[in-house]
């Protein structure tokens, strides 16, 4: 889980944040201002300062917020001047937008506010839909408006070119004032709440911001998005009453509290209407005592009534935002806030401590207990104990505001009569514990008042006096605080100075407001917030310096080695006391039998392990079965097993065992255990056994080949030096793969041992140097370097409908139609209730929601239309459409362990690491990546010791990228979203200076690129593999694309220019295999394209990287072998997709 922040304001108005990994509140130093309230999102924090203005603090990110402005320069040809800016009167503006309707001269572009800056000057765009244009970027047409081409023809009468300029948001990590709209905002804001980032699939940055003014009006901030973090304007939202406070959840929940104590629920909030349409009223939990505060999350509503009681609303969700009833909760709180994952924070009404609600899970949304967050604040030592004492008085001021309705509702009226409510405040004070003040009290509490005047008396002078009086009474009356008589100021100093020593260990800060909207924790999170004293041994050993840790550990390692030497080395010839014997483990399993009809049959399974002659452990697997009443068995030698693949689904706990022979046949031994636990026990045992027999132990080597299945399982193989040998390499099907814990979508590495991975949720991970994790426990796993890893992905199902003339679109299809709820193919029924997460490891974390981000587009309700099933769908209805479908998505989450550490916060879609030769000594390793928004990033500070690097450097591009690869000569190739390629030279040590645009192969859109030492390979969207011809040192961009193969999913080119792919539709002797690891044979310096494919493990493989393997093959120089007769090229055959049900297919 990435590190995120909990935000809070103390009663002084100082803003603090607490990191989920931290143990101390950090003060937000750069604010000159005191704040009344803050509301946080993951990317930013909004606040109301005591000048009543709204401020925005956008968290600094290595990824800048930049916005592309563009405009078009239009010209027309005339016989005299040629092309010139003299246009016809009927023509468009000389400078216009793309449509020609808007006049847009270059100097007409202004920065939206002082928080923006220009990133450079205007420049011409020389790219037309993936095709490079001439140097000046002109595109030609016969007339406006028309289709433009990059070539000038005889009839090209007009031309235009696109100018680009970027502006960048510069107010990062600082409180930037949102300019106020004098005309529309008559009164200052008193409350603010942001949320709503889940209602659309738009990537981070879009949010809804709601505010309440002192007069009880509600305002909505329009236009907040990633490119416009400040939003554009405030819009008033009509109300049935006057609101005191509002809360907006991450989704579509918005609740507000009325002056009178009822609650308002916003209805009609949707993807298209983030403001909602109407209000519904919900009565206060207690008819006698009105609500004073409300907090909403994704699926929860919490409220506080005026007597500080806490309430939880049952049955709240998107379809029923009002919920069904209140449940009274334990605890008395001043305010409550719901953060991410529906986690809850509150501030105690008596002690002003921030509480965290423990035990909140998706199934138990109300949690279990309140737990006080007990961590120091930075600089706690620097401000004297005096502050703590006077803080208390300010805290009382707050509790007065929250608790007594009369104060709250009077506050506005009191503007003219500020002294009026002194008595009420003091009565509130008197309920508090005895807290003596101190000499500094005057100054400090006036601070407190200035920052906390929201809703209260606006004249700090007056309230200041009131408060002090309250405190004085309080102090004087001591243990019997029932008298509200006023008394003199002078007594404060004398009395309190005497009591100075009473402040000690139990002093704690007093909090006024907390916001968890940016704080990502869940019930699994390990938080160090609750007892700053206790540290576990593990965290101890983490916190002590590595050198210290090493001292005692190293001592033990050294002494043990020494002991073995001393006690055993000279006595090896002695007999062992215990003779080694055979150890057998048996179990009952089911086996997918080899003969037809294939089905699961009960078998006995046994693993016999013994020590081989050379001391190596070995073993044999036996499967005992009955064949026509006759007892038979099948066996496999452990040292022949090449891979063990878990294939877990909801109905069966199965795994597959491959040997080279079975890899060739595409027909593994498939076994099913009775329980998931049993399956993993067996897998772990077999895996250890296989590794033992091959003498493999510990973490993968630096040369290791990494691959990932379509289930996200990670496998690693140790290459032999003969793997890339010519002419006789190690056959691919003999490679031994072992599993490594964790869950990834792709991985890249280099021969220095730097390995990065990206999860399905685009989180970046760096390999920690451990091994094991996941179901590997105990001996098969390292103790250090194993961390929790989570991943999230969406499951999709389709709702299908057919049109009939009577009722329009209905759920009744033709008898021949697909299921009305189905998977993408329409062949399998998938209902909302019947669809399960991909395996028992995954749990649902959201409800079904319409997915609008389908290729082809959708209408407002998410429907896509077509003439008939199956067909190509479009996002609008035409006369010829008779069927429609829409996609529903539901998120599920997996939590596992593995040797991976998260690299927050930027989400990635691709990553590449400089391939090095085995001997090379590079200090800083170039590592490039693509963010999930398509930005090109370069990681700084990646070294052998710090493989995670330090920060990102953003590299500008004119369009988003989707794939990137760096070659050994520090050349970077990228594929842009339009399917064309870009080249950038010498990116090390600087990041290079410019991109060269390289068009894609004719009529193809490129998808992925991989660059080795010099070879450049790409894969297009139709599965074709292309080799870049003519790449030379003087012309590194190359000259043309050469087609190598079809049915290719992914390519990885290594530091020796070796080529490996994931291929589809590979034929085996038993069945067909999709997603197969293939190795290009015959690749040599003079023949970088190679000759044929060798097939390895397959059936659901998704990704491979061989960029770590820089082991030069041993050269065989026998003259008779130098000219091998080339094998007939075996291209992955284009076999029609006849699904063979017997094949092991991980996607099932």
């Amino acid at each position: 889980m990435p590190v995120s922040l909990l935000w809070a304001v103390d009663v002084y108005g100082r803003v603090y944040s607490l990191s989920t990994a931290g143990q101390q509140w950090e003060q937000c130093r750069n604010s000159q201002m005191e704040f009344k309230r803050v509301t946080a999102a993951q990317t930013c924090c909004w606040g109301i300062a005591c000048d009543n203005s709204v401020y925005l603090n956008v968290h600094a990110s290595d990824l800048p917020i930049r916005y592309q402005e563009d405009t078009y320069e239009n010209q027309r040809w005339n016989p005299v001047d040629g092309f010139s800016d003299r246009l016809l009167p009927s023509d468009r503006w000389q400078w216009s937008d793309s449509s020609g309707l808007q006049h847009q001269p270059l100097n007409g572009f202004q920065l939206p506010s002082s928080t923006w800056e220009w990133e450079g000057d205007w420049h011409v765009d020389e790219n037309l839909e993936g095709e490079p244009t001439e140097k000046e970027g002109w595109t030609y047409a016969m007339d406006f408006p028309a289709a433009y081409t990059k070539d000038k023809k005889w009839n090209s009468c007009v031309r235009r070119r696109r100018w680009l300029r970027y502006r960048r948001y510069k107010a990062m990590d600082t409180w930037a004032k949102i300019p106020s709209q004098q005309t529309t905002l008559p009164d200052p804001f008193s409350d603010i709440s942001c949320g709503g980032w889940e209602i659309s699939e738009e990537p981070g940055g879009r949010l809804s911001l709601w505010a309440v003014s002192l007069q009880g009006k509600v305002w909505f901030r329009e236009g907040i998005s990633h490119h416009n973090p400040e939003g554009s304007s405030w819009v008033e939202v009509p109300l049935p009453g006057e609101v005191v406070q509002i809360s907006c959840g991450p989704g579509d929940l918005v609740w507000a509290v009325l002056w009178e104590g009822q609650l308002l629920v916003r209805e009609g909030i949707s993807r298209d209407n983030s403001k909602g349409t109407s209000w519904a009223v919900v009565e206060s939990p207690n008819p006698e005592v009105g609500a004073i505060h409300v907090a909403v999350g994704m699926n929860v509503v919490w409220a506080v009534t005026k007597d500080n009681k806490v309430w939880f609303r049952r049955g709240v969700n998107s379809h029923n935002p009002c919920g069904s009833g209140w449940i009274s909760m334990v605890g008395e709180m001043a305010m409550i806030n719901v953060g991410l994952n529906d986690q809850v924070w509150a501030i105690g009404c008596e002690d002003r401590v921030v509480y965290f609600r423990q035990g909140i899970t998706s199934s138990e949304l109300s949690g279990k207990t309140w737990k006080a967050i007990n961590v120091p604040r930075d600089g706690d030592r620097s401000h004297s104990s005096a502050s703590a004492s006077s803080l208390h008085s300010a805290g009382c001021f707050f509790s007065g505001e929250v608790r007594a309705p009369s104060v709250a509702s009077d506050a506005e009226l009191d503007i003219e009569h500020p002294p009026g409510d002194g008595a009420i405040i003091s009565s509130a004070v008197l309920e508090e514990e005895v807290v003596p003040g101190e000499g500094e009290v005057n100054v400090l509490s006036s601070d407190a008042i200035t920052c906390t005047q929201s809703g209260g008396p606006p004249d700090p002078q007056w309230s200041n006096v009131d408060l002090e009086e309250a405190q004085i009474q309080h102090v004087q009356t001591g243990a019997v605080p029932d008298s509200a008589d006023s008394c003199s100021l002078s007594s404060v100093a004398t009395y309190t100075l005497a009591l100075e020593d009473q402040y000690g260990a139990d002093e704690h800060p007093l909090w006024a407001w907390v916001s968890g909207g940016g704080c990502s924790v869940d019930s699994h999170s390990q938080l160090n917030w609750f007892n700053s004293m206790l540290q576990s041994v593990q965290s101890m050993s983490l916190s002590v310096s590595p050198a210290q840790t090493a001292a005692w550990r190293k001592q033990i390692f050294e002494q043990l080695t020494e002991r073995s030497k001393r006690e055993m080395d000279n006595f090896r010839h002695y007999e062992q006391a215990i003779e080694q014997s055979v150890w057998v483990k048996k179990g009952a399993m089911q086996w997918w039998r080899d003969w037809k009809p294939h089905k699961w049959i009960d078998v006995h399974f046994a693993l016999e392990q013994f020590s081989g002659a050379d001391g190596n452990k070995d073993g044999i697997l036996f499967i005992y079965y009955n064949y026509h009443e006759e007892k038979k068995y099948l066996h496999a030698f452990i040292n022949e097993v090449t891979i063990l693949v878990p294939v877990l689904n909801h109905s069966k706990h199965t795994f597959a065992i491959y040997t080279p022979e079975r890899t060739k046949q595409r027909w593994p031994i498939r076994l099913a255990a009775a329980t998931e636990l049993e399956m993993y026990d067996w897998l772990a045992l077999l895996s250890v056994s296989c590794c033992d027999s091959r003498g493999i132990q510990g973490p993968p080597s630096k040369q290791a080949i990494w691959s990932i299945t379509c289930k996200g399982d990670i496998f690693v193989s140790e290459p032999s030096s003969a793997l890339e040998a010519t002419p006789y390499p190690t056959p691919c099907d003999q490679m031994f793969w072992r599993q490594v814990g964790g869950h990834l979508r792709l991985v890249d590495c280099n021969s220095l041992g730097i390995v990065w991975g990206i999860g399905y949720d685009h989180t970046a991970w760096v390999y920690s140097g451990g091994y094991g994790g996941g179901f590997f426990q105990g001996l098969a796993s390292s103790t250090d370097n194993i961390y929790t890893q989570t991943d999230t992905k969406s499951v999709y199902i389709y709702e299908n409908q057919r049109w009939n003339p009577v009722t329009g679109y209905t759920t009744r299809g033709l008898p021949t139609d697909r299921y009305m709820w189905s998977d993408a193919s329409g062949l399998h029924e998938c209902t909302k209730t019947g669809t399960k997460p991909p395996s028992p490891h995954w749990t649902w974390v959201s409800d079904w929601a319409i997915d609008y981000s389908v290729s082809g587009g959708t209408d407002r309700e998410g429907w896509q239309y077509a003439a008939d099933f199956p067909a190509s769908y479009h996002g609008f209805k035409t006369m010829k459409d008779f069927v429609r479908r829409r996609r529903w998505a539901r998120k599920c989450k997996l939590s596992t362990t593995g040797p991976w550490q998260e690299i927050p916060p930027i989400q990635l879609s691709d990553v590449t690491i400089l391939p090095c030769s085995a001997q090379s000594s590079v200090d800083v390793v170039p590592l490039w990546a693509i963010s999930n928004k398509g930005d090109v990033l370069c990681r700084m500070g990646v070294t052998l010791l710090t493989p995670a690097g330090t920060s990102w450097l953003h590299v500008g591009t004119d369009q988003p990228f989707k794939s990137i690869s760096i070659g050994a000569a520090s050349q970077v190739w990228g594929v842009a979203r339009d399917g064309s390629a870009f080249y950038r030279g010498s990116v090390s040590p600087s990041a290079g200076d410019c991109w060269y645009h390289i068009p894609s192969p004719a009529k193809q859109k490129l998808k992925q690129v991989s660059v080795g030492r010099t070879s450049v390979y790409t894969v297009d969207e139709n599965g074709n593999l292309w080799y870049r011809q003519g790449v030379t040192p003087s012309y590194p961009q190359g000259s043309s694309w050469e087609h190598i193969s079809n049915n290719v999913r992914k390519v990885s080119v290594g530091p020796l220019d070796q080529v490996w792919i994931i291929a589809d539709k590979v034929q085996g002797s038993h069945s067909l295999s999709c997603g197969t690891v293939c190795h290009r044979l015959g690749v040599q310096p003079m023949d970088p394209k190679g000759q044929s494919w060798d097939y390895g493990i397959g059936g659901g493989w998704d990704h491979i990287t061989i960029r770590g393997n820089s082991m030069e093959p041993s050269r065989i120089c026998l003259s008779s072998m130098t000219d091998p007769s080339p094998q007939a090229p075996r291209s992955p055959l284009p076999v029609r997709s006849t699904e063979s049900s017997s094949a092991l297919n991980l996607t099932m």
Binding site: S536, W552, Q559, L560, R563, S564, A577, V688, G698, L779
Partner: protein
């Protein structure tokens, strides 16, 4: 750097080269040759001395044979202590191989327990494990195991099967992360100066203030004499599995990695050799 797993392996595969000689008082038909064997440090004498017995029985008459027992330099060796502990306690700093005298009569009833068969050792071993788990997890882990799991622990030790033993033993070494360690550390301190066979008390891995206790903390509380004060000559060696861990080594880590298969951390405090 090596992994902590390697420590477990090194501990398990620790061997002491031993020379067994027959007590000269025994009546033999012909002269008995010495017998040389590598004894596993973590095992028990009766478990690993079948071959020794067979060897010496060849030269003896059946009627002269009573229960076999072992002695080192006049001290009968208690079979219910792990072999490594016996060696570290009695014979560390001596020249290898370790010379053990084998007796077949005059069983010292006052010093040794009788051991009629390996099942007695098994019972002793299992009761140690149960005692250790009572200290570590209030017996919750060991009680959750099935009979065959208990058997697996014993068979692993008896047959020197590291994987078999640790496949089960790792469960006994787990603890909730938030606790920072076991409830109490099962340990025994053996010392030469007292009549008590060993010190065994309740001791937590983490102090009330939340600091991880170290080996030094344990000794300071249990046996302060073992520690060397400033300016003093070192008087005692603190041996675990024949090595001297630094006193700042966290006790929890030691318990997880340097415990014997019976799940106790056996600590020997022996005088520094004078020469």
């Amino acid at each position: 750097m090596a992994d902590d797993k390697d420590v477990l392996r090194d501990v398990w595969f620790g061997r002491i080269p031993t020379c067994f000689t027959l007590n000269p008082d025994e009546v033999t038909e012909r002269e008995a040759e010495a017998y040389y064997l590598l004894l596993p440090r973590v095992s028990y004498l009766p478990v690993v001395t079948d071959k020794v017995k067979k060897h010496f029985l060849k030269v003896m008459r059946a009627e002269d044979v009573e229960e076999m027992w072992f002695e080192y330099e006049g001290t009968p060796l208690k079979w219910h202590y792990p072999i490594g502990v016996l060696f570290d306690f009695h014979a560390s700093n001596t020249v290898l191989p370790w010379t053990i005298t084998v007796h077949f009569k005059n069983f010292p009833d006052e010093d040794l327990l009788h051991c009629s068969s390996n099942s007695v050792v098994e019972a002793h071993f299992m009761s140690s494990i149960k005692e250790a788990d009572a200290l570590k997890h209030k017996s919750q882990v060991i009680n959750d195991m099935q009979k065959k799991d208990h058997k697996q622990l014993w068979m692993g030790l008896q047959n020197d099967k590291f994987d078999q033993f640790w496949a089960m033993n790792r469960k006994l070494m787990e603890y909730p992360t938030e606790d920072g360690g076991f409830r109490y550390i099962p340990f025994r301190i053996y010392q030469t100066l007292s009549d008590r066979p060993f010190i065994q008390k309740l001791f937590r891995p983490v102090s009330p203030e939340g600091h991880a206790h170290t080996l030094g903390d344990l000794l300071k509380e249990m046996y302060p004499d073992a520690l060397t004060n400033d300016g003093e000559q070192k008087r005692y060696q603190v041996l675990i599995h024949g090595i001297e861990p630094l006193l700042e080594t966290p006790l929890q880590w030691l318990s997880e990695h340097l415990s014997h298969p019976d799940n106790f951390l056996h600590i020997c405090v022996v005088p520094v050799p004078t020469d």
